[in-house]
């Protein structure tokens, strides 16, 4: 007979969840449905509905940017994870280090340093100018790299790529080698093995990775400000309400709730794909 766990054993966890997960959520909800004086009010939602043109565009932009970043991350991460999982132990460890190092650096510093790379007279354009000088006598007009949608997506990909690689790599490195051998044995060449065994069995990792890239990308607020010029995404709008000049907690909270609802719907759609398979990324 197993001894029943004392309810007190769970107490710290329950307390933790209440304090750091439920309380902030409740707070957000309270802010969203009250006015400045603390009375119940739907003013913020009404305001959003009145200005839906603006907000629809911002939400749409955010989703589009996040989707783009997620797809690019997936396209980069899948082959890399596959290569890593099949490399020698030493190569695997080295690559893992290289992937982890940017995660140890401060997110703000990383994003800021991209500025100096992408600036008109930044590192990249200087290099381009030099290359241009080699082949042409004409004056070099630096292409605008910073403050473009591309730069924002680049920032997201750079920051969140490891979260795509790791779960996929984890799943792939746990694949039984005998499964790929069995497929080869039955007549599958390298591509068929990849298509019919490796890809389908990596789906749980892909689902985790997509979730872990998409969710932070859709709500990010720093990357778009620093790399996208004035362009603002929904994360920036929300930040503005809490820390910025607008200073309207209620509106910020209402936007947050709507964003959460959208993310929730996205996750449910993703869940259809994974079909109840357990998440691969176990922390």
């Amino acid at each position: 007979m197993r001894k029943k766990n004392s309810p007190w054993l769970n107490a710290p966890y329950v307390l933790w969840s209440a304090l750091f997960i439920l309380a902030p959520l409740a707070l957000v909800a309270v802010f969203a449905f009250t006015d400045q004086a603390g009375r119940f009010s739907l003013a913020s939602f009404e305001y959003i509905a009145q200005n839906q043109q603006l907000y629809l565009k911002t939400f749409g932009d955010s989703l589009a940017y996040a989707l783009e970043a997620t797809v690019i991350c997936l396209l980069l991460a899948f082959p890399l994870a596959y290569f890593m999982a099949n490399a020698r132990q030493r190569t695997q460890r080295l690559l893992m280090m290289l992937i982890m190092v940017p995660m140890w650096m401060n997110f703000v510093i990383c994003t800021y340093s991209w500025r100096s790379i992408l600036e008109d007279h930044g590192i990249l354009n200087t290099a381009l100018a030099w290359l241009h000088g080699l082949v042409s006598k004409e004056a070099f007009r630096p292409p605008a790299l910073l403050d473009t949608p591309g730069a924002v997506v680049l920032g997201m990909v750079y920051n969140y790529l490891p979260f795509m690689i790791l779960p996929i790599y984890t799943v792939m490195s746990k694949l039984e080698p005998s499964l790929t051998e069995a497929a080869q044995d039955l007549g599958a060449n390298r591509w068929r093995v990849l298509e019919q065994v490796v890809v389908p069995l990596s789906i749980p990792g892909v689902v985790s990775g997509v979730t872990m890239v998409f969710v932070p990308s859709v709500s990010t607020f720093y990357i778009s400000q620093k790399l996208g010029g004035g362009s603002s995404l929904i994360g920036d709008l929300i930040e503005l309400q809490f820390l910025g000049s607008a200073y309207n907690f209620s509106l910020g909270a209402a936007l947050s709730l709507i964003l959460m609802a959208i993310v929730l719907v996205c996750m449910l759609v993703m869940k259809q794909f994974s079909d109840g398979e357990e998440s691969a990324f176990v922390v």
């Binding site: 005998s178 051998e181 069995a182 497929a183 044995d185 039955l186 007549g187 599958a188 060449n189």
Partner: protein, 377 residues
């Protein structure tokens, strides 16, 4: 060149990290033969199969398939299929799709795929399991799916790597019969790997006894049992008493302090040899009248017969008989000439001794492969 030979392994050598695993292996396999690689865990059986299947290129030597070398031919182009040690069923596909996997790669028409899958599932008694997920099947059922999947593509040769290792005894016996039937029914060459000598003896046309990457003996089960080539084979295949002896002349051997008539000849005068006597071949006679005399030190009832350990001048003999004896009884031992088998001395001579301790059981206990398999079940 013999037309009947499907696979010919010529001088195959394989080493991992400088450690030789197969040493100049020479072996040919006849069409429709049931051939078994038998040897202790780690002797290179799986490695041999991997060389044949194409997963491993030998360091030297040649693999001839149907008269042509198939070195460098990737596994997916070889007409050989494998039943892996742990089945390796595709967890994301149901039973039907597992069996259809190879057929779809052949781009057969859908109707033909379906016909063949159903046929194979019938052969392995799994009709009605098409939509089941492989994870929901028992070990024996998964084994059948693996067999159906490999046979569906109609390979010339099927490689089976300890396919029954993870099954319990009863199921194992049933599957042995079934596999043998399937092999005869379909007329496919089976290369079967096991470390279980009984399994090898009961199923095979030919047994290849291996140890440390070398073939010790190739022969029919009867050859191997009755005429083991060296002390390793004698010890590995069934119980045997292996005694130091000296060949006095043709048909005359001296061991345990006495001279015996035997049926072997062709040894040098006074050549030192290993003498094998199977426990069931020893006759117990009243003491005094027998040529050898010893004291019973242990008695075990084995269901049909008794097993005695008998101390003959300090050497412990294993004797099986239906007669009842008690511990400390003094008995006579008589051995007929054709029950004495003489082997040349080999590097194994000093390793196999008498039955002062049950070496066989110790072997079983320290066999890592058996251990881990039982744990995982």
């Amino acid at each position: 060149m013999n037309k009947d030979i499907v696979i010919d392994l010529k001088d195959i050598s394989v080493a991992f990290d400088g450690q030789p695993v197969l040493k100049n292996l020479n072996l040919y396999i006849r069409n429709r033969e049931f051939i078994t690689l038998l040897g202790p865990s780690g002797c290179g059986k799986t490695t041999t199969l991997r060389v044949i299947a194409g997963f491993l290129e030998p360091d030297s030597g040649d693999v001839i398939f149907d008269g042509a070398s198939c070195l460098g031919v990737p596994p997916h182009k070889r007409q050989v299929n494998t039943i892996f040690q742990r089945y390796a069923l595709f967890p994301h596909l149901n039973v039907y799709k597992n069996v259809a996997f190879g057929l779809k790669l052949l781009r057969l028409p859908a109707a033909e795929v379906e016909r063949r899958v159903e046929e194979m599932l019938r052969t392995v008694n799994l009709t009605g399991f098409e939509r089941r997920s492989v994870a929901s099947l028992s070990g024996g059922q998964q084994q059948r799916v693996a067999i159906a999947r490999a046979l569906a593509v109609r390979p010339r040769v099927l490689l089976l790597d300890e396919p029954l290792g993870a099954l319990d005894l009863k199921l194992r016996k049933d599957m042995q019969m079934e596999l043998k039937n399937i092999q005869q029914q379909l007329g496919i060459t089976f290369i079967y790997v096991t470390h279980d000598q009984e399994e090898a003896l009961s199923m095979s046309d030919t047994i290849v006894v291996m140890d440390e990457g070398e073939i010790q003996q190739i022969g029919t089960p009867k050859d191997i049992y009755d005429e083991p080539k060296n002390a390793f084979v004698a010890d590995f295949i069934g119980e045997s008493n292996i005694v130091d002896g000296v060949m006095l002349a043709d048909f005359r051997v001296r061991f345990a302090g006495m001279t015996f008539q035997c049926v072997d000849k062709g040894f040098a005068p006074s050549e030192r040899v290993d003498v094998v006597v199977r426990p069931e071949d020893v006759d117990i006679v009243p003491p005094g009248s027998g040529v050898l005399q010893g004291t019973v030190t242990s008695v075990t009832f084995k269901g049909v017969h008794y097993e005695f350990i008998v101390d003959v001048q300090g050497f412990k003999w294993l004797i099986q008989s239906t007669d009842v004896q008690a511990v400390d009884d003094v008995i006579g031992i008589s051995i007929k000439p054709d029950e004495i088998h003489i082997m040349k001395k080999s590097k194994y001579s000093d390793l196999v001794g008498d039955y002062s301790c049950f070496s066989d059981e110790f072997e079983e206990m320290s066999n890592p492969e058996t251990d881990s398999e039982e744990e995982e079940e």
